[in-house]
Symmetry: C2
Subunit: 132 residues, 2 copies
DNA sequence: TGGCATCTAATGCAGGTGCATAATATGTAT
DNA sequence: ATACATATTATGCACCTGCATTAGATGCCA
């Protein structure tokens, strides 16, 4: 793959990630009291529509195991999820979304979508890719 | 812009950012003693081929002003840049790369390129974008 | 059963980041 | 010249993250 394209794509990824993350942190935080990681975890559970083991979530969210463990701890503290023991494998933890968690996620989802729409509308899906 | 495309692009950005950042942190760190931010700052100075003011760097690197200030402090500690006063505006700071900084950057550049090549070669420049 | 490697999740810790603020310099208007 | 708003960089602080490690559970094999 052409190096210029690779570097250009990388710059695009960096720019979009930075812009979107900042905006999400602000909007989700101010309007819904959620960080991007918290929202993402809720979103994945809602999407699967079932309780998930921590390790399953690990594959879906781009966080280390320890970071995810703490995100879930924060969510539990906020009563948006519960951590239920897994009876068949007592090492495992099921993360279950609460009704309040569903409500909060449903409220935050349009905000997230709106932020992403705005960010990606400004810049084309993939720009000229002029590397330097 | 279609919502599915937006969400799919966002997932792509998240995935690439995560993979590439982890790899860069590992490779640049282990092999050259540089973090991604440190490398990026050196890279921008080399690219412009002149001393830059902190604020100019701020526009090019996706870091807050405070984070950049500290990155430069670390680079100065490592003798890879110097912080020179700006005579015309004594608020300003010029960040100048040292010979050792150039050497280190030159050594690290192929590593960075190789990491990016590998990451972006695996996944196409923009995948199917199936959102969920 | 006992011993041991493996797996899962939680935690101590160090480090980087952003926000708010401080400290200093500049420019402008009166 | 003074006062005040603005600009530039540094710093205190809280928070989040990853790495390494720990604690506990499981599986396997002798």
């Amino acid at each position: 793959m052409d190096e210029q394209v690779v570097v250009g794509t990388w710059r695009y990824v960096l720019a979009m990630h930075s812009k979107a993350m900042c905006a999400l942190e602000r909007e989700l935080g101010d309007r819904h009291g959620l960080g991007p990681s918290e929202f993402e975890v809720l979103d994945r559970i809602v999407h699967h529509d079932r309780k998930l083991r921590l390790q399953e979530l690990c594959d879906e969210v781009h966080l280390s195991q320890s970071a995810l463990s703490r995100v879930v701890a924060r969510l539990e503290k906020a009563a948006l999820v519960t951590r239920d023991a897994c009876s068949s494998d007592r090492r495992g933890i099921f993360v279950c979304i609460t009704p309040e968690g569903r409500t909060r996620h449903a409220a935050a989802l349009p905000t997230q979508r709106a932020v992403l729409q705005e960010i990606f509308a400004e810049a084309p899906a993939l720009p000229g890719l002029a590397a330097r």
